[in-house]
Every structure is written in C-alpha cells, then in structure tokens.
Symmetry: C2
Subunit: 671 residues, 2 copies
C-alpha cells in the first residue's frame, strides 16, 4: 500500500482522504460509578489490557485518558515479531501486516576513510533471523496500533470505549487485605472530567483493581509510593517523521549511519512508501540541563540530519511530527502496590512506561508495554471470573520486572554502541571499521531480543521447572509457544498451530501423540473409509489413556476447573497433534468418551467442533516434531498459558502432575 | 475463525454477536437527477462495477436495487482463485482469506458395491492444482462478499452507497448515435422508489450509460429487446445451508457423494467451522412442470439428504437458508444494445445473471458475474474520463459473451456427470466405479476452468496477436497476468509482482530486463555503495534505450496519453524487473531521464516513488524468469490491462509496436 504521497493524513489509509473523519476530540460521557477494573491511560499498555478485558461479558472495565481523543501522530512505531504474534491473538495481525512497512534488512553506513566527511555503505544484514517467528518485524504508526485495539474493544462482547478528557486525581487504596473477590473493600478513585463546556467536574468511582498505564509521569505509580529509578545519560536525540526528497540510496531501508564528526542517525522507513522516521544524535546536555532549555526547533533536527547524510541531499518537504529527548534508562523496583516478599494480593498495578523508560531507538517501548498488560490481562480476568486464585496476581510484577530489567540493560548497551562517536583519528586508523563491526555483530546477536521472542519467565506457580523439558527441547518452558505449520485434519487446511491461542483467557494443552496405532479393517465402518487401500491410523494407547483421564477422572483439570454446563473447552482447550498424514487419521474407532474430547459437542445446538486435531505432516513445511525436537516415540503435553507462554512440558503418562499444576492456582467450579 | 456455533447470525463475524447491527432495510434517499452511470442491481456484478467506478472522483455513479437493504443470507458462496486475485486488486482479499472456508481437497463417495444402500469413500483429490494462483479456492457467504464491496465503495473517493427499494420502470435509449462523450443525448430512465411511508414515487433520471446487473429476470435486458436462450434440463435440485450434527466423517471437506438409488449430494463446508451447504439432487420435473408446483419444504430437502448419507446420521439443528431450483443453462446472444457487427457505441450493457444462467454447483455464478463487470468497469471509466475512445466499449460484449458460452458448455457437462444416476445393476457390475472415475478425471481436468484462471480473451484492439509470445511463454496473451514472487529492490521486501495491478483503471507495463550491465567503481559515487566488494549492476543498454524512448519520444504512450501536469504513471504504470539480486542493483549510474522513470517524482510534494523496481531473485521462491519462461537474454515488455489480463508481449526494441498498440484506443491528452 502506498499513501501519504501528497502529505501526511491521519487515519485508516484504506479510506480515501476525503472519506476520513478526523477524531481529535470525543464528546465526554458520564463515567461509571463502580467497575471491576479502572485502567488509567490509553497508550499501548492500557489499550492492550482494555482489549483483553473487553472480551469478558461479566467484567466491567473503564479506561480513561486525559487527552481529548485518540492519538493521531507520532510516538512509537516499531512492532516486533512477538507483538505481531500477540496482535494475531487479538485478531488484527493481518491488517497490521498489510499496512505496515516490513523491515527486511538493515544497512550500515560509516565515514569514508579516504574522505571522512562523506559516508559509505559498510554492510547489510537480514533483519530477522530465519525461523524466529512466523511474523516479520514491521513499522507502523502507534496511532494505527491504537486504532486496531480500539476497534477490537468496540467489536468485543462488552463494546468498550475509552472515556477521554478524564484525569486521575486521587486513589484511596483500602488497608484491608484481599479476602476474596466477592468480599473486599473497593478502591475509591477520584477522576476529573472536562465537560463539553470546558468545565472540570469531579467524579468518584469504586474499582476492584486500578491499573496505571499512564506513562513515565504516572499518577498511579506516585499514588502507591513508587518512582522510576536510574540515570539519565544526558545524550540528546532528535526524532522526526518526515516526507523527504533525497538521493541517499537506502532511504527505504532501515539504516544505521555513523558519521565522522556529526554523530549518528537511524533511518526507519515508514508505512505507505514515502514517510520516514529519522533519529538524529544531537549534543550532550550539560549537567542539570533539560531538553526544554535548548529551545530546539524541527529545523535544528533537520540541519543535524543533513550534516550526517553528506554528501547526499536531504530535502525535507514536510515534518509530520518531531520531538527531542534525552536518553534515560529508568526502572521501578516493583509493578504493584505490594512490597516484594509480601504475599498479600495486589490491588493496584502499573504497566508500560509507568514502570520503565528507555530510549526509543531499539524499537522496544511499545512492544514491552503491550506485553506487560498482555501478561496482566488474563490474570485479572481469571481472578475476577472466579476461576483462579488471587495469588495469580502476584506473578505479574515478578515476571514483568525481570523482563524490564533485561530491556534496560539491553537499551543501555545499544545506546552506548550507537552513540560512540568516531573521530577523524579513529577513522583514519581503521578503528572506525572496528566500531562498525562491533555494532553489526551486536545487532545480529541481539536480534532475538529485539524480536521479543527470547523473553523467558522464571519458575512460579504458573511456570514449571524443566523436569520434562527433554520431551520437546524446542518448546523452552517460560518462553512463548513458538508456532509451526500443521495440517488441520478435518479440512486439510495448512495452519499455524500457535494461532489457536487466541486472547480469550483460556489455557491450551497441546497434546503431541506418539506414532499412533493402525486400525483394522474389520472394525465396523472402517472398510468404508479405506479408499485405494489407504492404511488408517488412530491415536496411540497412551493418548487414549490420557484422554480417558481427562474426560472421566475426578482429578481431571477439565472437570475440576470447567464451568458447570459449559463447553468442555471453556477454560482449558485441548488440541491434538498426530504424526500420521491427515488422509490416514481416523477417529471412528475411538471410544465415544475419547472422541468427545477430539470432536466435542458444543454450544446451545450441540454442534461438533472439528478443529481440535492436527497432523504434523504438512506440505512444503518442516514437521513440527523435527523443528521443535518433540519426542516422536512418546509424544508429550505442552501446557500453554493464555498469554501464549509455555508453562510446562509433561509426559502423556504424567496426568498426576498435570492435575497438580492446575491445582496450584485454579479454583474448582462451584456447580 | 470459528463462528455460528449457537446458530447463524448475519454480519461481520469479527464483531461479537451483541455488537452486530442488522441492516435489513436502509432508509430511502433522494435519487440523483443526472448520472454518468446507472447500475441496476446490487448483486455481485453490480457491486463489482460500483466499487470500480467509485474510485474515480469525476465519475457520477448511481446504483439501485429493488430490495430494501443489503443481502443477509444464502445464494452463491464459491470464490474461485481468480476472484480472489480480483478482490486483491480491490484491497480486501486478506479479509476474505481470513473469514472464508478454504477448499483444500475434494473427497468422492460412491455406493458400497457389497451393500449398495451404504456409501463409501472412493477417492480424494487436491482441490486446486499447484501453482495455479497465489490464492486458494475458498467458500464464503455471498452477503459477506457484498459487504466487502459495499465497504470498498464507501471508503473510495466518491463514498458511494446504493439506493435501495428502487425499481427500474422504464429505459428510453436515444436513437442518435454516440458522437463523443461530451456531446450526446442522455438515456432517460424511470425509477420507482418506495418511500419511508411505504408509498411508491416515480423519479426520472438521465444517465450516459445504464448497466443491467439485475439478474435472470433482468428488466434492463428486456428493455433492449434481448432474452435468455437455452434449455432447462428439468432436473430438480435442493440447496440448503445447515447447522448439522452428523457422524459422516468428511463433513468438513468438500464431497461429491453418489448414492445408489437416491441421487447425488454435493457437500460444501462453509466459513466459521460449523455451517455446511448441501446440494441435493431431487426428482426430475415432468414436462411443463415448474419448481413451485412441487410445493417443497426444507424438510423435503433434509429427508432427501438423509437418504443419500445412509448409513451415516444427519441431524439438522438449524436450516439457515434453503431453496429448490431446476438446472438450466441459458445465454443471451449479446451483452449490450448494439447489434453484432454494428460498430456504434453501446449505451446499455447487461452483466452477470442477466446475460447467463447456469446451475450453481460448479461454483461459477458469482465469479463469472463479478468478472463480467470487472471487464466493463475500467472501459466505462476510461471512456468517461476521456482517455480512451468509445470503441473500447464494443469489446465488452465480444469478450464476455465468449466466456459465458464456455461456462455454459462446462456447466452442462458438469451437471450431466453429477446427475448421472447409478443403479444397482451398474453398481454390481462395476460400472459404478467407472462413473466415479470419469467424474474424478473430469474434476481434475477442469480444475483450471473452475479456478477461473484459464479464461483467455481473443484478439481485439486491446488484445494483441501472438507475434512475440515466444519471449515469455508463461504469460499467455489474453489470459490474466499470472503473478509470481519477486523482491522489491528499495526495501528488500518479497512481494507478488501481480499485486501491483490494483483496480485503479491504469495499464501496466511489466518491463523485464536482460542480464543488466556491470557498473565501474570509477563512476562518481559508486565506490561508496560497494560494501564488501559487492559487484554493482544496472540496467541493460536495451532497457536504457527503451526507457529513454518512454520519457523523451513524442511517440511515447506515457507522453501522448498521460495527463498534463499529472504523475508520469497516472494512466500507464511502468514496473521494472531485473535479474540481479536486489543488493547488487543500483540506479545511481543511470541518466537522470531514465532514473525519472524508475524512481519518479510524484504528487504535490514531488516525493520519489521507490516501488517501481523488482528483482527476480527472491528467497524460497522460483525465479519469475524460470516460472514464466521469460527470455533471459533479451527480456521483454508485458502489457497488462487494468483488469489484469495480458494484452501483449513485446521485445524491448519494439517501441514502435508499443506506441501503435495504445494508439488504437487511447485518446491523446488535450493539455
């Protein structure tokens, strides 16, 4: 898709410019008096959380923002592979893929040693390692990401929409400990809302939980006595989205450019074929000096960029958005209102920039923020729906603080490498070349980190130890479930197995069978299925036993933690992967009870769900047993969390451990 | 995506059922008094045409339908590969792919020779031949296809929406011949519109062109004195969309089932995982008997289906839609108001079921109808915009009548094969097996036809002879441009080359270069681009000469038929495919004039369009020069029409022929 040719226009590029209605300000609506969850802030963290909670009919969520309407411009733009996996769970990955710029390669430029005032191309690397994810690394306006989440919220069961022009004033967290979800003192929150007449009115709201997604200057964070800690590197950077005419040959490729005397530039081409984001290194700030003190203009940033691009022209036709910032890596020591070590249930959480800030150039900010609240969303929903113990909520800060600390370390290193200024002496002596090499090596090494796929949660009540990791070494416990292609048996469709994990708060058991068993033609009905003497196969005896446990045993998590009168997969969804080609697999010989798990009757009409069984044999793709190193003889069960992370890998025989795993945090159904 | 579990609900399945607003009736709006094009009928043909015309700001289109609002249910559902290619040109293929059922395989069932009352699986074939199209064969509710076109119309420059509850009453076509688009007597049309109060009001409208997309009983067709001709096979069929519980093992696969005594069934699984369409063969009609005479109910169709499925159960939980029809293949002898052989310009056209009817089971109806008006749309737009001669309009009936005649022949053969009833004797003697074999062979042989990719237009002013076909034998002149993967040079993105052909009324020149030329490092600026001693390549001398002709010669179609002050690609869009890997290709050494074609300055800001140049070297895919048998030594120019069909293949040196080709029907720019 090409757009923005005649200048930038916000909104959906699939609409002709004349058909777009700019929504800068949304009329105020009356705030609710009592909610389950109050989300403060409509940034990526807040909207991800709201989109998740919007899917549960019985959860009442309110999301407020002090801005008068949705974001139109600027801010973050990098979308890591892992974030696209998450967007897919929310159902809009394909729209992002269509609209976004795809980062395929990164090109490196450095000073020309023979003529150091000029730059020359020094290298080129593939941006994302092969096989890292089924999704690419892309770039898209943060405002569009917001739009997709807002659409997702509006389309969901609860039809959720933000309350704009609404500012948090005060939070009163009750002292009393959390007893149970049905018996607790609500948090009292005061919100000031601008009326249509421009007056400001105070509202009081009662909330079970409050989540601060309100950015680096978070009011919610302050209200629970936390602050961002860390240093500021006092390195000033400018950032701008521009429409530009240039003879620089790589303007449509991501570039890292190091000049000899004028600092560095990062070129990030943007969606639509014309727009480009430029990060420009400016001067160091003096001690105590603030960015605002410099009174920078967009012209200063453009001029600084032009110096680096020498000898290429850089003629800016439109500055769509610009900003200047100093690099600072700061982190909050916990992400909820409960002291580390205290086992009380937290009531107030913070996510995104409210917990961690860093430089934007590694393209991590929006991504990590969204994943903060993707981690939190299903936990809140499970506790509010009464299916999980409140102890689940203590895992949020533990898991996400670790990720943020890693991000900050990574960002510090990255900022150091990008900023390290070459001088004429080092350029002349070839040191410059070393620096460029260091940079490229670092870049490749950390590809997995930037893609967001290497995040690994530590052992907890929802993340097991590695006792049976050997059964599927490609499914690292604690990391996200790495999808692979399989064939859906019922309709022969090649599909991504990981895409069954939608953002619906459900757990998945990915049940990989051993070799399966041959079926005798003498079983009634089998002869009618054996065309052209095709040999029919069914499940292995171990899997039949596993399935029998699941549908019959009183210890089965499906029974203990399923809803009374609900579908069998309402809270825990079993998917089966067999090794036989789909043409050979048959369920017809299986006992009715086992078949009821592979082809369950669901819904008010008792229709059969045919999308539970997959074959590892898939055209033009590697077999998942090979690509994820799954034990072909014995199979295994991979437990996948609602946020797509792997909680455990277990043998088919270890139904006791499976039961115990869920017993740690699930609450039995009260029929 | 899974939906319809608790019963069918119309509308966008991405919205929770509670969020869907059913639009059964749209409030009437005042009809316009004067339009360029009046389209009668909001079926697939009408909406495709409206969506095409909606993209041109200066064309005034009105589309009317007698129904009170958009379609909700039933009717056609098969979407051929070729139709998805067309949807992609309109920008919504990915949404159809997401929502639709994918037909991957077809399974055949026949009577069990040992127990003829039972059926057994007799074969299985891959549904679509490998490499036939980059898109699959899918199934989706016609109402959703309408929705996508309606969205496309609403989002387009003109923001077009249908006028419902509006019935065509009369058309008065002027006798006077068509002189020029600016000097003609309009067609006077009378339309009766139901008011909000339920009254009927008559309106008179003046239209330059009227297009009848008003179905098999077309008023427009009758008004120009044409009728559908052909026979009715008097074979009665039932069709139903059902939610069903069955133990028939292939209910989620397309099946052709032939029973011994009870006729045939076609099973077409539908979108959402639960819904299925069943075509059921019913009795023959007596001579003169009409379908309505039978007073059939949905129960009759269900009962007939149950007999065929024996011994499998077939328990219908909800009949969403059903109908009964007799097979009839009928065709109109021309598709406009001008007698064959007469070279006057037609003013009234018919498209879709108004010109041809056939049985629905080959899944062709909606597809052929949409392609009728995809053929007509750009022609109408070109004439109305003054860039093409009215003679272009005479090619519509000629091209589409041929396609319809082929369709009818195909459909007649198909109907015969599906209906041929087996009896116990033939089953016992093995004839039954022969019949099943015949059926399967026919099915495979005609795969290309059903996919819609084999349609080939004959020689005309817009479709050349095959003088230079040998330069690219994989691009058959007259067939649609068969896309293949290439790498976009500017950003290293692997893309489908054919996807540059959007439904924007523009012609494309796909310019395939020979081997290219090596660039010397001594050319100024080249050294800066040669990292790691990468050898740089640029265009071949032949292509440089071709491009020089295009940007400089007074005979260049770009200059003769471009708009004054418009972008260089406004009417004819050149795309270049080079053989060098993208990392090695450079435009820096080219003359400024040639570069202005490869990287043109466009729009009000003079921004550079970087999406014109592609490399045939693409990861994990076959080189397009190999897959389409393009002459690697000499290259060639492939002329692609706005409807994606190939108009000609020419040598790079044949700029004279290129000029003559466009001279036949394009009108020079009046500056």
């Amino acid at each position: 898709m090409q757009f923005h040719l005649n200048g930038f226009t916000p909104g959906d590029p699939e609409l002709a410019v004349s058909q777009r209605q700019s929504v800068n300000a949304v009329a105020p609506r009356a705030l609710p008096e009592k909610v389950d969850v109050l989300i403060v802030g409509c940034g990526p963290a807040g909207l991800t959380l709201a989109a998740q909670l919007a899917r549960f009919a019985n959860i009442k969520t309110c999301i407020i923002d002090k801005k008068p309407g949705p974001l139109q411009l600027g801010q973050a733009d990098g979308i890591a592979c892992r974030s696209l996996e998450m967007f897919n769970a929310f159902g809009f990955a394909e729209r992002v893929l269509k609209e976004a710029y795809w980062v395929n390669e990164t090109v490196f430029w450095k000073p020309d040693t023979r003529k150091p005032a000029n730059i020359l191309r020094s290298g080129r690397v593939q941006d994302t390692e092969d096989g890292l994810s089924e999704f690419p690394h892309v770039i898209l306006n943060q405002a569009r990401v917001h739009d997709f989440f807002l659409t997702s919220m509006r389309q969901a069961e609860t039809g959720l929409a933000p309350y704009y022009s609404s500012t948090l004033v005060h939070i009163e967290v009750p002292e009393k400990a959390f007893a149970s979800i049905s018996d607790l003192t609500p948090i009292s929150v005061t919100v000031e809302q601008a009326t249509a007449k421009g007056e400001r009115e105070k509202h009081t709201m009662q909330a079970t939980f409050v989540i601060g997604c309100d950015g680096a200057r978070s009011q919610v964070r302050q209200s629970i006595g936390l602050k961002l800690e860390g240093d500021s590197a006092s390195q000033l950077w400018g950032v701008m989205d521009v429409l530009v005419v240039t003879d620089f040959p790589d303007i449509r490729t991501k570039c890292l450019i190091q000049s000899d005397q004028n600092g560095s530039i990062i070129v990030i081409p943007r969606e639509g074929g014309y727009l480009v984001r430029i990060y420009v290194e400016l001067d160091k700030l003096a001690p105590g000096e603030r960015v605002a003190d410099r009174q920078l203009t967009s012209d200063d940033v453009v001029t600084a960029a032009q110096r680096v691009f020498h000898p290429y022209s850089f003629d800016v036709k439109e500055v769509v958005w610009w900003s200047a910032y100093e690099i600072g890596q700061r982190l909050c020591r916990r992400f909820d209102n409960v002291e580390i070590g205290d086992e009380s249930t937290p009531r107030v959480f913070i996510a995104g920039d409210a917990c961690h800030t860093h430089s934007p150039k590694a393209g991590q900010g929006m991504n990590v923020s969204m994943r903060d609240s993707f981690n939190l969303g299903w936990k809140l929903a499970s506790v509010l729906r009464g299916i999980a113990s409140p102890a689940l909520l203590n895992t949020y800060s533990a898991e996400r603080h670790g990720v943020a600390a890693e991000l900050i370390a990574f960002d510090r290193e990255w900022a150091r490498i990008v900023s390290a200024t070459g001088d004429a002496a080092s350029a002349a002596s070839g040191h410059d070349n070393d620096r460029s090499q260091e940079f490229q090596q670092y870049f490749v090494r950390h590809g997995r980190y930037t893609a967001g796929t290497s995040i690994q949660y530590h052992t907890s009540i929802i993340c097991a130890d590695t006792a049976f990791q050997y059964l599927a070494t490609g499914f690292d416990i604690g990391t996200r479930f790495h999808s692979a292609m399989v064939t859906r048996v019922a309709d022969a469709k090649p599909v991504q197995l990981g895409h069954v994990v939608e953002a619906d708060g459900r757990w998945r058991l990915m049940v990989f069978d051993g070799p399966g068993e041959k079926i005798s033609e003498s079983i009634p009905g089998m002869a009618a299925l054996q065309h052209h003497a095709v040999e029919l196969l069914s499940l292995s005896q171990s899997l039949i036993e596993w399935a029998t446990f699941m549908v019959k045993s009183a210890y089965s998590p499906l029974i203990r933690y399923g809803f009374a009168n609900a579908d069998i997969d309402a809270n825990i969804d079993c998917r089966f992967i067999i090794q036989a080609p789909h043409q050979q697999f048959t369920v017809e010989s299986l006992p009715e009870s086992v078949r009821s798990l592979l082809q369950p009757s669901k819904g008010t009409l008792g229709l059969i769900d045919y999308e539970k069984v997959f074959s590892a044999a898939v055209r033009d793709h590697e077999n998942i047993y090979d690509s994820r190193a799954i034990d072909k003889e014995n199979g295994c069960v991979v437990i996948v969390r609602p946020d797509q992370h792997i909680a455990d890998v277990l043998p088919l025989s270890a139904t006791d451990r499976l039961a115990v795993f869920f017993d740690r945090f699930m609450l039995p159904v009260s029929a």
